[in-house]
């Protein structure tokens, strides 16, 4: 059904979460438009009709009119109460996750999204989900506030360090939808995008199967996967180009100037420290923006990353 303000909203791809929101959005817009047109017509009409004829114009003394004033207080009051109730019920629905929802863990950090599945599958900035099934995304942040927003589903929630928050939705068509970070989080906030990829249920099972069990291979291969899954490449290039952080190309045994004036030679311990507590030794010419990976990467994983970094020349 086409409505006047359809052009303002993105496609509705999760009717269970979006329908109520959209209905209310249209309702408020349409009622507002009626009021606004009324106000505008009144303004223009009065301006023309009662244009000043002379400086001696006499005007009537109309101090107030109770009937009129009560009418124009009560009618808007009733309308906004409807709006409140409608918005409230829609919001309750957004909070009430269906029981059979499929749960996916999401982690936001400067400036990437990681998604973890029940069988150990991990993705970076790609949320794979099956069509036609309620999905619950449980979110946490590793550093500052972020916010998880999927316009096509009309869901959004802040991602707060130190606590879990969630959103749910049910995608009804296959394809892709964009995910934005909508809580300001620093330099690359506007690049902290991800996408939802909606599969047919059986395709999703296959995808999950294929990626299950997490990271595998030789230490170097595992290190490579970790570096790409953990979003290190948002800030570190492997081709020598400078980004927010120093490039990984040729990093092994490179002599590195630090902000405090001293120099270090990159070895295992330095890399380990740089990953766990990046603030301890900050490379000269760079800001201390890398968030600490303490508690997020195991010792084995760090060892594998080091093995991989040694190979980038």
């Amino acid at each position: 059904m086409g409505r006047l303000f359809d052009f303002m909203l993105p496609d509705n791809k999760s009717p269970l979460t979006a329908d109520s929101t959209d209905g209310l959005f249209h309702f408020i817009n349409e009622v507002s438009l009626i009021f606004l047109v009324g106000i505008t017509i009144a303004l223009i009409y009065f301006a023309i009709k009662y244009k000043r004829k002379s400086e001696d114009d006499k005007t009537p003394v109309i101090t107030h009119n109770n009937t009129l004033e009560i009418t124009w207080s009560v009618i808007p009051l009733l309308i906004v109460m409807v709006v409140f109730g409608w918005g409230y019920s829609g919001w309750l629905n957004l909070k009430a996750v269906p029981n059979d929802a499929y749960e996916i863990q999401a982690t936001g950090y400067k400036w990437n999204w990681n998604f973890n599945y029940e069988n150990g599958a991990q993705t970076l900035n790609e949320l794979h989900v099956p069509k036609g099934r309620p999905i619950k995304v449980v979110m946490q942040s590793r550093d500052v506030l972020h916010s998880f927003f999927i316009p096509d589903y009309r869901v959004k929630h802040d991602v707060v360090p130190g606590r879990y928050t969630y959103v749910w939705f049910q995608a009804e068509e296959t394809g892709e939808s964009v995910i934005f970070c909508t809580e300001y989080c620093g330099t690359s906030h506007s690049d902290m995008l991800a996408k939802v990829i909606v599969h047919e249920p059986n395709e999703f099972e296959q995808w999950l199967e294929l990626n299950g069990g997490g990271i595998q291979g030789t230490p170097v291969e595992q290190g490579e996967q970790l570096v790409s899954l953990q979003g290190c490449q948002t800030c570190h290039s492997i081709d020598g180009s400078p980004k927010i952080g120093p490039t990984f190309k040729g990093i092994w045994e490179r002599e590195q100037q630090l902000t405090d004036g001293s120099t270090v030679v990159v070895d295992e311990n330095y890399i380990r420290e740089s990953i766990l507590y990046p603030g301890n030794k900050v490379v000269a010419g760079y800001q201390n923006v890398m968030s600490p990976y303490e508690g997020r990467l195991s010792d084995d994983e760090i060892t594998n990353i080091i093995e991989y970094l040694k190979t980038i020349n």
Binding site: Y50, K58, I62, S73, V160, G279
Partner: protein
Amino acid sequence: MAITEAKKMTTLQVKRFKPSENPTNTFLTDEKGVWAWMTTVDHKKIGIMYLVAVAFFFALAGFLAIALRTELWTPAKTFIEADTYNQLFTLHGAMMVFFVLVPSIPAALGNFILPMQLGAKDVAFPRLNLASLYIYVAGAIFTFAALASGGFDTGWTFYTPYSSDGNGAGVIWVTLGVFILGFSSILTGTNFITTIHKLRAPGITWDRLPLNIWALYATSIIQVLATPVLAITILLLSFENIMDIGIFDPALGGDPVLFQHFFWFYSHPAVYIMIVPGFGIISEVISTFSKKTVFGYWAIALSSLAIAFIGFLVWGHHMFTSGQSAVATTVFSFLTFLVGIPTGIKIFNWIATLYRGSIDMKTPMLYVFIFLFLFSIGGFTGIMLGALSVDIHLHDTYYVVAHFHYVMMGGTLIALLAGLHYWWPKMTGKMYNEKLAQISAVLIFIGFNMTFLPQFIMGAQGMPRRYYNYIDQFTPFHQTSTIGSYILGVAFLIILYYLVKSLFSGEKAPSNPWNSRGLEWQSTSPPDFHNFDHTPVVINGPYDYHKPMEEFQLGLAVSHEGHDAEHAPAEVDTTEEKA
């Protein structure tokens, strides 16, 4: 008011004082030189200095806005880096809010007009008034110090933990700047409340108070009650930053959502600090230029107070997606709608005032019409954002950016422009070029809508705010918006041009160019150093256009006051029935 009422009936000797059209002595001729201005306690000079400071910051922040819009011409980099962009939008927002809108109407126009509308010689505490100006300047210096020490990029909301971990000295400096600035606001508020209670000229009863005064009164109450909370929040933030005490930062055991509660506990009332004084100006201008009593005086006066009080209870509507408790969310949404009603009532009352008026579309009135249109849109979209489910979708998108620009710029700033043009002749003694003024008002209207209407659309489509980069689909909206901002820029330059020009070669302003019944117009233009050279006596309401002008020009007939000996004293008492 019935005579039988047990109220004190004082009989005063009054006579008519017609303001001179050729004043030789005015507040501008009385104290001259830079030092005299810097040490003055004259509310009019202080008001003008505030006005200059506010204009300076507006120009600066406006210039930044143009830079931001230019950067957004293309996705990714157009001409500045992401970090620069983030610093600029923070600076733009912080300056516009704390240095422009909060002080603009009360401290600049209010300072000048409030004592005059009360028939007082000055505010109650003139020295405190000067102190508040210097505190404002000190706050500004801290902000520039913040820029010098590496800048800050937290957004004007300073959300933790982003603002507390590793963001360097800039944040500490600027928040201290805002902390200091708060005192300036508190002092102005205290001063106004006292002045309104204590320094009203004989005959100005509460029901004859101009609506501008009611609005400033409500504003002052909010300023005095809300600003200390901001101060404490900022102190806590600084403690955390400097001493690593965990209050808001979860890494130190604090709670980031708590910061948001504290911040909005001030900053939501602060949006009423910004808009309510605008309501006052609209009431004054609309009455003068339709030569008519304001419709629903009490509804307008009391709704300002109602807004001031309910405004304290809705801060959580900025936090619907933050993870605050469900009960809180529900209550905040409900109360938000309640605060919308008094605002709606005002709009209807103003429109009803026009009915059967004698409408003169001079520049101030033109701005009132623009205000009514833009502010209505701001209000309707506010209802949209108050609706829980819809806000989930719209929060932190350009829809919000558009909404608050419609309210703050389309509302407050347009009201400020209305007031500035309205009182300009009184303040400077000069008339501006009406034609240029009308042209620029129309340009502002066009430019404004072109800048901000597209933002509603792209916001609803999903474009998040505080984005340096964006996905291609939003390009046309951003480009329209940018062109609109250039039109706005040109319009403001024209305003600057003709206002400055009027100072040097403007036509001389009569004492009451708009034939207003407001008391401030019964002084010379520009006013005497003591505002009036007599003690005004008021026997009518400020909007009683059905009463002859003579009745608005009375003053105490004390022999040593006044200089016009020809008028014989008349005997009038201060109650209505004799008038």
